[in-house]
């Protein structure tokens, strides 16, 4: 089972599902949906936050939030 954390800088993957239910509500609301193609753009300078890109949306999420997004192998 791979999550966003397993993506290298610049790598893309397809979102499969989410681990945390209450967090997934918030991710869905921002348009981070299953089957969406998501790109890991970069890690923040002091670590801990990820710059993600999907479908025209640039979004910053924390490491523990990114860890709940499962991607397809």
């Amino acid at each position: 089972m791979r999550t966003i954390l397993d993506l290298k800088k610049g790598e893309s993957a397809i979102v499969e599902q989410f681990i945390d239910e209450s967090l997934s509500c918030k991710l869905l609301t921002m348009g981070i949906l299953p089957h969406a193609k998501i790109t890991m753009v970069r890690v923040a300078p002091f670590g801990g936050a990820f710059y993600l890109k999907l479908n025209g949306l640039n979004v910053a999420v924390r490491k523990n939030e990114a860890a709940t997004i499962i991607i397809k192998d």
């Binding site: 949906l33 801990g48 479908n55 949306l57 640039n58 910053a60 999420v61 924390r62």
Partner: protein
Amino acid sequence: MVQREKPVIALIGNPNCGKSSLFNILTGLRQQVGNFPGVTVDKKIGATDLGQGTYADVLDLPGTYSLYPNSTDERIVTEILTHPGNPNYPDFIIYVLDVMNMERHLLLASQLIDLKIPMVIAINMTDIADKEGLKYDSVYLEKKLGVKVIPISCREERNIDVLKNTVLQLIKKNEGIPDTSFHSFSRADIETIEKLKPYLEETNDYRTLLIAHHHDWLKSKSAAEKINIKNLTDQAHFESIKSQINETMGRFSKFTPYLRHMQSKDDLKSESLTDAIDNVITHRIFGPVIFFGIMLLVFQLIFSWSEYPMTWIEDAFVWGEQVVKEFLPDGWFTRLLTEGVIAGLGGIMVFIPQILFLFLLISFLEEVGYMSRAVFMFDKLFQKFGLNGRSIVALVSSGACAIPAIMSTRTISNWRERLITIMVTPLISCSARIPVYTVLIGFVVPAGSIYGFNQQGLAFMGLYLLSIVAALGSASVFNLILKKEDHSYLMMELPIYKPPLWKNIFFTVKEKVLTFIIEAGKVILVISIILWFLASYGPKADMAQAEKQAIQLAEDRNLDETSSEQLLASLKIENSYAGHLGKFIEPVIRPLGFDWKIGIALITSFAAREVFVGTMATIYSIGGTEDEATVRERMAAEVNPITGRPVYGFATSLSLLVFYVFAMQCMSTLAVTKRETKSWKWPVIQFIYMSLMAYTGSLLVYQILG
């Protein structure tokens, strides 16, 4: 429904959709900022002329992604829309949607459709879409959603008349209610709705469902109602999170196909430009370096731009005092007016240039999209201190004034992180401390340069660094003490870079400056008047004695009129209530190296820290000057009668500087902390911990160096 003279139109949309731009265009200078009752969320409202002599009140609601809110700001939208009896319940909704992010922005649109409130959808940013060659089919969307759709551009003020006229016609004809519901509820949701509807006497299915989701924090429901709603939803086996996931996914899967039909989206220029900029701006190494470079530039600009206007304002108030003194007969009322009211007003106004320029630059950075990158970069670092990436806006703003800075923490959704930010923000050196530093720094560091840097300039920077370290250090302590509660989120959109809309910057700056004038102003004014009283009046016998002594001394020394007046003022303040207070606290502040004269200055600094300079001028009888150089010269000449050494020696001056870095000497800030935390507990703790830090810091400095 609430009966009104003028219809209320609510502007609703996602963050960064351009809603505020539309609000500024519609209302212009008629806008007012207030508060929603019971919560500290800005309520922006203003009248607009829809044409044909019909006016409406436009209400700018906080940006939100859905009716399932994450923060206090966002909750207000759900609160209002689920309660038709709410005084702010809109008669009409203009939903603002960013054409460049149409898919995500349709989620909230589809939720509003199901609430069956009359509405139109304004597709914004069509100018960018046209430049990018991005197609959108508003006629198709209108047919699919069953509401009027109007393409507009706030940047070019395109089609605003069409939008206004459409709203006017719909309001006049009582139309605009969406034809059909958008979402088909799941069986479980229907069961909950059926159970709850009769109890709530509701007519709308979606509103009923939202109440089922949110009843535990909705203010429109009483405690007893909450229990009943909970029981009913339990009976229906309602699972809030599951239901929300289903609903959101259901909505997306219905409207995502519309986009394929309507939009062709290839590589967009604005997006690739944003990517290119972010490659540098959020880079691991360049990112933070650029940030600090920008901040240095910002503060450099603020200080150089505000130098002249501040002098003009000071001069204007001094002139005003003289004019009043000349035209009114001498007496307590004239003195109250000049030394209390006018001097107090001057003390507020003098900070306006710095605050204005700081917010001009910050809102510029915010408007182009830079601030959210700073939040992204520093989030992890700040989390270690119990803060949030979003705290950076507050910490930077407090370089000018803690009051607007504390108010800017409203965007932090986690209460604990917001509270810690509020608690430590006043430690950052604000503009009121600068005059005090300017006077004292010369006693600690001699003029001259070291390795090509101005020594006193470096010391100045040292004081700022000390304040930042103190703020982060205190945050860590609060982080250890305060109980960890619910989960905290970052999850923040990084919008594409756009050229700024100057109109938006103008209104933001105007709002912040007005907030400062009103919030700080009323407190500073009242305290100035109290302090004027304390410094001008004292026990009758003492004051008479002081007057006699002054006349005697003036005769002995053969002083001219001005000098004897200054001598009288100095002896009067010594024997006034303020002087007695200063002497009363002297034993407490003696170990810090302070005498009763400094004690008086510490007390008067409660109005605003810079009053220190004026008080020193009075105590050392150099008349009505507020000129820092003159005050410093006179202070340098002051000798301790017992030891024969200068009063403002290295140890005392440094101790005093440290005291001003840490001490909570601003009543207005405490008042704002009280309002934002809705309790007396936090301002009291803030006052105590900062005073303790100041006292211990100064004690250590003086005892080690003195």
